[in-house]
Symmetry: C2
Subunit: 310 residues, 2 copies
């Protein structure tokens, strides 16, 4: 039997046909948010049928369907509480998917929770009992593993570790509050910092790239020795190591796994992050800081990794 | 059968003879730290014998002994990793207690963990599955309830939620790092803030009390309308509500329970704390902010509340 993992993004629906933790086939298709939850589920069902057909399967071969969502999810009830990028509010996503996939097991969960599940099942958190997975992207995703399984919050809202307040009266966050970890540690935060810092700095390589700035460019410029880029990353890893050390102190986890686009920067990110976190941790023999194994496929894999599809 | 709950403080050993969650008899005796772990356990044993005799029991009536410690504890191994106030480092406290209490069940745990256990067994967290208990005193104690029981950290060091970093490059903390929650939210932090603020403020009631300042005095002055005291508490609850809201967002708990000496301040603390926390939480229907039921007895009760002594 196979499983269908779905990763609903702001513009595209990613999908994979999965056996164990291996993606056999995958597709990514743009979709319009105008159709709401129902339209989204129609698109998912059509995309699933096309993908199955393309690789010689039918719906009969499918055991279960899981969907990762960029927002807050009440997993027990299958409700998307809020997914601002999708315009979903108190949306019965599981029920809508269930209508289409009839007798299949259907699950919906937060995308960072899916990333944590993916790492736990076949990535760098494999076999661990206590671990945290954070994803640095548009926001700061947070997935918590306790007792060897995903902890989805005590009252069914999920865990919003990206909204741990790190600076009183800091930058305004998308959640409405100020100074959340997301405003300091997300890829968006890095880019806001960069755009501010680059103004008038005509001496920097960053300035030469000012029209095509993204996180990758910042790290590339740092790799080429650009002083401004190095300072930006230094300040960014100051904040990120405060956050990671806080997680180490709060949970005493075996590891904090860092994923999302920025983690692709490799040693330019991880060398200072690991060093600074180590200096700040309460216990000298704290858990490891690990680079996520799954990047773009984390949602697809993690959406179904808890389900026994074999 | 009865249980003996022990609360090892910096200067005194508190002890109670407990049936269910009720303390039948208790005693508090000063002790010298010079004797190390062995001397401390001798004192505990002597104090226990005296207390038992005083109320007509013998050791035969005792089922188990639990000791709460102001420091990091590896509970599985019964080792006090660090208790700076006691001068204990990698100290085999459980083994030493076991030698004296022979066939009794012996447990050692962190004092804030004990407070969380006490509230869970017979206090304001009773029956909850997910909750946090913080104690505001010399430091900031932190106890985490997950799945209806105490979570003592993933690698046996315990949870050090008081060392969540809330201000980059903030005040130096006892742990060696800077800007920990403890440097902003503990009773010590409130008093440091007060002593700084009161200088030269001869117009304030606080200044008139400058030779006998403590947290109780600060709240009393605020209760009498002293502007300076009100401002200090306003800033203090700004920080504390950042912290409590962060815990709400991280765990989605049914409640965050606030204990320790400062919680005795009542509405002068809890009215602004609850209001500001509510403004900052990610989810509108977040958990409750509750005042701890047990104050001085939390350690004694929580040290044995998990054990079935009846």
């Amino acid at each position: 039997m196979i499983r269908i993992g779905v990763d609903i993004g702001g513009t595209n629906i990613g999908m994979g046909i999965i056996s164990s933790t291996e993606i056999l086939h995958k597709s990514s298709e743009s979709f319009s948010k105008d159709g709401g939850v129902s339209g989204c589920c129609d698109r998912i069902f059509a995309q699933a049928q096309a993908l199955l057909q393309k690789c010689g399967y039918t719906l009969d071969d499918v055991d279960c369907v899981g969907a990762a969502v960029p927002g807050s999810v009440n997993r027990d009830r299958g409700i998307v509480i809020n997914a601002y990028n999708l315009g979903f509010h108190d949306a019965p996503l599981r029920e809508e998917l269930q209508k289409r996939f009839a007798d299949k097991i259907v699950d919906v969960l937060n995308d960072a929770d899916a990333a944590a599940n993916a790492e736990l099942s076949g990535g760098v958190l494999k076999g661990m009992k206590t671990a945290v997975c954070i994803t640095l992207g548009t926001g700061l995703g947070f997935g918590l593993i306790i007792d060897g399984k995903l902890f989805c919050g005590g009252m069914g809202h999920g865990t919003e570790g990206g909204h741990m307040i790190m600076k009183h009266n800091g930058y305004k966050c998308t959640c409405g509050d100020r100074g959340c970890a997301e405003t300091l540690c997300s890829a968006t935060a890095l880019m806001i910092k960069t755009r501010r810092a680059v103004k008038g700095r005509t001496d920097s390589i960053l300035w030469q790239n000012r029209r095509s700035l993204n996180a990758k460019v910042v790290f590339e410029c740092a790799g080429r020795g650009d002083e401004l880029a190095l300072r930006i990353i230094d300040e960014y890893t100051d904040a990120l190591s405060d956050y990671v050390a806080s997680l180490m102190n709060l949970f005493d986890p075996e590891a904090v796994c860092v994923g999302g686009g920025i983690s692709a920067a490799g040693e330019l990110l991880f060398e200072p992050l690991v060093r600074k976190t180590d200096e700040k941790c309460f216990f000298k023999d704290h858990g490891q800081v690990l680079r996520a194994h799954f990047l773009n496929d984390a949602g697809i894999i993690g959406a179904v990794s808890e389900m026994k599809g074999e």
